[in-house]
Point group: C2
Chain length 465, copies 2
């Protein structure tokens, strides 16, 4: 097996063995085509050149890929739609990129058991629409929901706007079919509403970024479809005032279906992009929605709390269509911030919501210190901030400052009792920071788990830790 360590001989052998168990069109080896599978949407993350890209359509084909990889000691990098923001799907040199996008069947939707059984390549929005036809709701809604896959969502434990009421992907994964590094098939979890039989392996795979096994099937929990949500927008003269309103809303026991914050930088960028007529003096815009039986009453109560916290304007929507218009501002945030500089880095720090104000103030200070534009949008109800660092990758000094400020923001989050990642994951971007957050004992146990599942270290190596 000496050829393993030589370029051409090794890849020829790999390609031949892969093709023995996969259809011809499921093994891509053209260098330009393979290059297009090299990385996800994160900045500052190295990516290698794959030795092959495979697009299996069945569990058996995935098993064949893993058996081949184990036999030849070739690393495997699983991919969904590559919309990730931490480099977790980036190829490593000589790896097999295992794209699951062709395994995209919705196998079953059951309105009584309130579950869906899906393959990993199903696009989030496709699933959401399919279950809606049965009066059901699959809540997790990352910004990339129109393109990202359920497998990718499971790999990164994705969140979204709905989490403040409905929680993250992890809370909707009941059971998994997983192909292990050696090609064996593992079934975890259940189709039932409850179950405590043994250690929760299902949950261990959620957010594991493909480092423990390849998810080839999932049983997902569904909710009844709630009423259409009704939203309000509230303008504040400072981020602190908006954060005070967020705390008051949660302290009073409200359960909004959405509670988002955009800072002044973001509001102005959206204004420039979409001429939404928001006053340029607004230093924070809060968006709050309810999908309760009487959302107007809930919004009225929240509007009062916003005014008490210093809101200069509170605009409740009259209907679902008007609500959607208000939420457009939030949906445009990232696009708007991307017009400021050629590149962006999106932080994902989550802090206790009592620390949200300190997080926003501190982020503004970091932006000033580093002479950068950093716009913040936040899933405020969850304390999950997305500071967006805007920079020019061709400007070496600005790039350095961008990277340093990105790290400073994570340090601030940890100092405030938060986490370096609320929903985007670790990938290669935040590896050092994961070690800081977990500490040596936690890291040692995480590595022990990795060894238990992947003793040869072939699954998405170089990610997480």
């Amino acid at each position: 097996m000496d050829d393993l360590h030589e370029g051409p001989g090794r890849t020829d052998g790999l390609h031949t063995r892969l093709r023995a168990g996969l259809p011809a069109d499921a093994v891509l080896t053209d260098p330009d085509v393979m290059a297009s599978y090299a990385h996800d949407m994160a900045s500052f993350c190295t990516a290698g050149a794959p030795a092959a890209v495979v697009l299996p359509r069945t569990v058996e084909q995935v098993q064949h890929v893993l058996r081949t990889a184990t036999a030849l000691r070739v690393p495997v990098v699983p991919q969904g739609a590559r919309t990730g923001l931490s480099g977790a799907a980036n190829a490593s040199d000589g790896c097999v990129v295992l794209s699951l996008v062709k395994m995209d069947r919705i196998v079953e939707i059951d309105p009584v058991d309130r579950i869906a059984v899906v393959e990993p390549g199903v696009v989030n929005a496709v699933l959401s629409r399919a279950v809606a036809e049965h009066g059901l709701y699959y809540p997790p809604d990352p910004s990339s929901w129109e393109t990202c896959t359920i497998g990718g969502n499971i790999g990164t434990a994705s969140g979204g706007l709905c989490c403040v009421k409905y929680g993250v992907t992890a809370e909707y994964v009941l059971g998994l079919d997983v192909v292990l590094a050696d090609g064996r098939l593992l079934r975890t979890g259940r189709r039932t509403a409850k179950g405590v039989a043994g250690y929760d392996l299902t949950r261990l795979f959620v957010g594991s970024e493909g480092s423990l096994g390849i998810v080839v099937g999932a049983v997902l929990a569904l909710k009844p479809q709630p009423p259409a949500q009704l939203a309000l927008a509230a303008e504040f003269p400072s981020a602190e005032a908006a954060c005070e309103a967020v705390c008051a809303i949660m302290e009073r026991g409200h359960t909004p279906s959405l509670l988002e914050l955009m800072d002044g930088t973001t509001v102005r960028a959206v204004n420039r992009l979409a001429h939404m007529g928001l006053p340029d003096t607004t230093e924070a815009l809060l968006l709050c929605a309810f999908d309760t039986p009487d959302p107007a009453a809930d919004l009225a109560a929240v509007g009062e709390l916003c005014r008490a916290a210093g809101a200069t304007e509170v605009v409740p929507a009259d209907d679902a269509a008007e609500s959607e218009l208000l939420l457009q501002a939030r949906r445009l945030s990232l696009n708007a911030l991307e017009t400021i500089k050629p590149a962006t880095m999106i932080d994902d720090v989550c802090v206790p919501r009592t620390k949200l104000s300190a997080m926003l103030t501190g982020t503004a200070e970091i932006a000033a210190t580093y002479g950068l534009t950093i716009g913040v949008c936040a899933h405020a109800g969850d304390g999950n901030t997305h500071p967006v660092v805007c920079f020019d990758p061709d400007d070496e000094d600005e790039s350095r400052r961008a990277r340093e400020s990105f790290d400073e923001i994570m340090a601030l989050g940890l100092a405030l009792g938060g986490t370096i990642t609320g929903e985007h994951g670790v990938g290669v971007l935040k590896k050092e920071w994961l070690a800081r957050e977990l500490g040596p004992v936690g890291l040692e146990l995480q590595r022990g788990i990795k060894r238990t599942f992947d003793p040869l270290g072939l699954l998405n190596p170089g990610k997480l830790f």
Copy 2:
């Protein structure tokens, strides 16, 4: 260290070393006193004689116990209130019983972050009442909630009546402090609403029955306190009809806060015990409650669905007090069934709710085959059935039939796509069945995780697998 393998010498050394880091009253060695710590509430589970019982009050004391145990290679069996139903807290011969009941402080309750920070010995009901004073709600409500501890709830991933709407204990554990087998302290998880930094070790500990580490602190998620629930009772001429109603209620998108079923055997036992005036011809009683803004409207809709499924009588409560009266019947179920024979064994099979009817019919057939009384109460909305096998432990043949029928019920649950345990755990009672449910690949990985956390196998040995 030869004395380790001799009775008196070994225990003398152990006692001396334990006392070196614990207050005098925290180390119990009287055989009669120790015997009272030997087992939980499960039938048919062997229990050994502890070498010592310790009742630490601080994290440092727990660390001392674990360091001592590791140094002397003595097994450690953690315990809460010993209300468990699977023998998971049963002592093994020569072990240190580590009771956490003296670590019972509620450290913090934060209504904005909606969290509580607690020590493991806090009683569930004490926490529930404490958070209620802040307008908050800690949902998990196992039947033993007045006495069971949060640490025990975490160890067994406890459920309760509220799960159909609010989920199980696992969904409320955000972060943990855990003393590892070697005495080191591990902090997992977070205080934030979201977080995906590394593998979910927090969730791994929930339901691990003390086999991976000793939980010495927990950050728990809280909900806003919902309105008082309003209930109805519906009488059915057959269990199948009641199950049809359960399926219709869930299919129509209702979100009851409670949806419980009692079979005819249970209804008649409760009638005999409490003279509740239920007709003896009732073959199933369904209890449904809502804590929504307009529970009466929801109950009216559910009442219609019950009648359509064949309910002979639908009795909605007019207020919270009347609702409590209706729920009394459910709360008395176990006590009532315990009057039938000197002993009971409580199964805990959870099936997809579409299979609930088959589960109940099959359980009735098993009762007939084995010539036993088996009453069933069920968290019907979750498909989680508790068949209660009634028997006389002094009657050898009946005991054998009880044990066999108990196993048959688990086999039926697995055949219907369910799990052997929805909320009571595995302990020693269901070890063989866990292996059947998980299969060899799953079991191998579970054992690998166990070795990663507890390489010497000292933590609650002989439980789970």
